[in-house]
Amino acid sequence: MFFKSLQSRITFLFLTLILVVQFVGFIAIWVSINKNARIAIAEQLSIGEEVLRTVIIRRGESLTLSARILATDYGFRQAIASNDTETIKSALENNSSRIESDVSMLYSPDGVRQVVTTDLPFEQVDKVVSKLIASTQVGGNAFNLAVFNGVPYQLVVVPVKAPLTIAWIVIGFKIDDTWAKKIQSESHLEVSFITKTNPSAANSGSGAKWNLSSSTMDKVSASGIISNIPVAWPQSISNINIESTPTSTKNTLNGEVTIEGKDYSSRYVEILNHHNQVLIAVLQRSITESLAPYLTLQLNLLALTILGAIVFIAGSIFTAKRLTEPLTVLVKTAELLEKGDYSVPIQSKSGDEIGHLGRTFDRMREAIAERERKISKLAYWDELTQLPNRAFFTEQLVKFAENYEAHQQTFSVLMMDLDRFKHVNDVLGHSAGDNLLIGVANRLKDNCKRENDVVARLGGDEFGIILANTNSERALEVARRLQSALETPIALNDSFVDLSAGVGIANYPEHTKNIEVLLSRAEFAMYAAKNSPGGASIYHSDLDVSNDENLSLISEIRVAIEKNQLSLYVQPKIDFTTGKVLAVEALVRWNHPERGLLYPDMFIPFAEQTGHISKISYWMLSESARYAAIWQKQGLDIALAVNLSARDLIDIELPNKLKEILAEHQLLPNSLSLEITESSIMDDPARALDTVERIARMGIKLSIDDFGTGYSSLAYLKRLPVNELKIDKSFVMNMEHDQDDVTIVRSTIELGHNLGLKVVAEGIENKGVWNILKAMGCDYGQGYFMSKPMPAASLLNWAAMWAKRH
């Protein structure tokens, strides 16, 4: 199809239809007109022939009448009776001029020509007259037609009676143009007379030529009649009838001839054919002329056609518009729907199919909008907590970022992760875990009621909050408020659960303008917060693996192990009672080729997050075993305590690895001990416990590191196969000034001892603390007061020196 739009297609269709209909109608009418015109012409010609014949008869009769009048004139008869030729002639002439006849003659009763008034070919005339007389005598026509010198005449013969026939009067008219015009005036046809005479009776037909005697047409056209005589004349017309009696003939022939470029319907009427004379009346009607009135009709029709076409075009355009305009509206609405705008209703008032379509379409729009609302709710909604989900949260972040671009409104992202959620799930069941999450969500909602604040559950026990138009201080304030809101225990299954959460804060655009990065930085801040007593921390680039420096560190950690850039440091644990070095805590340092010596807190958190921690741990174990072996050969029986991460504890291969390492250096299990934090177990207590128990069965001693910071359950402590508690240095360092710390430390020591565990105090920085701890009965001490961490290789010398001093 040529047309893209429905409108032009409809218009084209309508127009084509109307034109085809009009064209067919036009043709049909034209054919019909032509046919009818020809029928009408044929009828006209037929009537014309009747007129012609009637005129001939009428003229004959009137001629006869006038001849009779002359014949009955007494004086005229006297003149004839007295054979007064001169008088007769003048009487004939007088009569001729009176009735305007062309021929006046007197014949004797026996047919001998006696008086003539005009010159004629008398030989022929006499023959015709004698036939006429004979015909008259037997009661036939008293008049007839004859052709003399190519000129047709109508002759009448009337007897002069006195009272017997004493003479014959012959009177005749030329059949000339006047005659033709008379017939034309009555028949409205072109009338011409053509003749053919045979001067010699023996030479019938072939030699004779047609001669035009008179015509209503102009000379040129009339001569065309002769040249256009149909070739195939019927036999009756074409042959000159030599001897036939002068009876009226009825031979006719119809045909069409073209004269001077005009088509004529012609009727050839043979009105005389006898005695070597043929007279044919040619009746003609110009087809062009008779079609002329129809032409006007046709022109009117054409005008109507054009008008009709215009009306139809207008109509079809109107119709098409009426059809397509609602469609266009629908298309526009559909485009809006495509863009996700479901707000524009479709106005469809018309009752037709398109109106129906429009209304259906509108219902569809509403249904789609409703479904999309549901779907987007599903997509952006957390059904459990009735909070938006991570996807929504991320999108909101994008919007906030856009808003910043427009209005310079900063915002903060708070990320919160519940502590020990897995533990609750494991102990109290998943439905309790769910209820806990719902409780947390409600508290968060209650505490973030500013209009633009967004609270979302990002997954698991992780929640995110967007605080609009804020700064670090306010964000921190909110974080604290949230934490205190969580402090009230939540009732689950008739028991109360204490809650705590680490909250990380990242500010936009202060910390980054990348939403993804912003989220991860808030997350890093959150992890950092978990490891700090405050429980809330603002992002700092040092914390962040995604910090460019740290990122490069992460990638370099693996290389560090391979290229042996790590080195083992140790910090001795001193026995309070003997003052001897019984064990050392193995620590790692990274001799970074560019940055120099890096402390564990600069890369261990990232190693934990990226999984490199396992390799580092393995390296530590191997290196520690190596030194243990070295020291034993030197006669120094010092155990090395290696820190394990949560990730190490869920590695079920760890016990086997330990075995291999011990075997490799031909060490006894007590040459190594392991330090684990409470939180490292809490991540996945079941698996961690399993690992720990297997290790314990191997005879390797275990310490609880950082005891007192991890909100750990004493129930766990009871179940753990540990030998030692390490009191966190945060309690130890301020013991001299903080009585609470003293109480905590004392209680811890008592608790440890009561459970049959050795107690180690970390962070001893002066003599005073040392003394307090010694007085409390703490088993071992560790800290700068005794020794900073030193390269493992230096331990032998240090130990020798330490032994001399004590």
């Binding site: 009776a81 006195a162 009272p163 017997l164």
Partner: protein
Amino acid sequence: MKKLSIHYQLFLTFSILLAVFSGRLQAGEISVDVLDSAGAPIENAVVYAEPENKVALTTAPAVIEQRGKQFNPLVSVVQTGSEITFPNFDSVRHHVYSFSPAKTFELKLYAGVPASPVKFDKAGTVVLGCNIHDFMLAFIEVVDTPYFAKTGKTGKVVLHDLPNGNYTLKAWHYALAKEKEIFEKPITVKGSEVATVNLTLKPFLIPVRK
């Protein structure tokens, strides 16, 4: 123009049987049968015998009346010098005329009996017409002999009281095929003679009153 009767007899033969009455020596008679070519008798034929030697004529006045717009009788035969009266019995006037060479005359429109009769002083045929009524037609055969007669339906006539002697027997009819050729036949009368006259007639239309 209505025609009451048409004679299609093309030929008429007059067979004139001359019968001579033997008992009369001084005066004889001729019995004539006028027949057409088919042998049928001809009516209204005029038969007359002209004597070799002139005889005195004894004229008698005749009448041709006009009644019912017709001349009556149709055919009259009179001796030369006879006078004929044309009384008009119709309510309309008539204009009787003749253009015949034997007697040209006219009696202009008149009613009743004309003041004077017309004298026919020349032998021959006179055709009478009425200028008012074209259909009126009558014939007068003027003969130079006292011996004449007109046939009736039987076609038979007898010429009486003819002195013995030589005669020319003549016969005329208005429908003679050849108008000018009157039947002529020499005949010698000795007593009762018999003659047959055969005449050839043409079709002739006696005009009839409308």
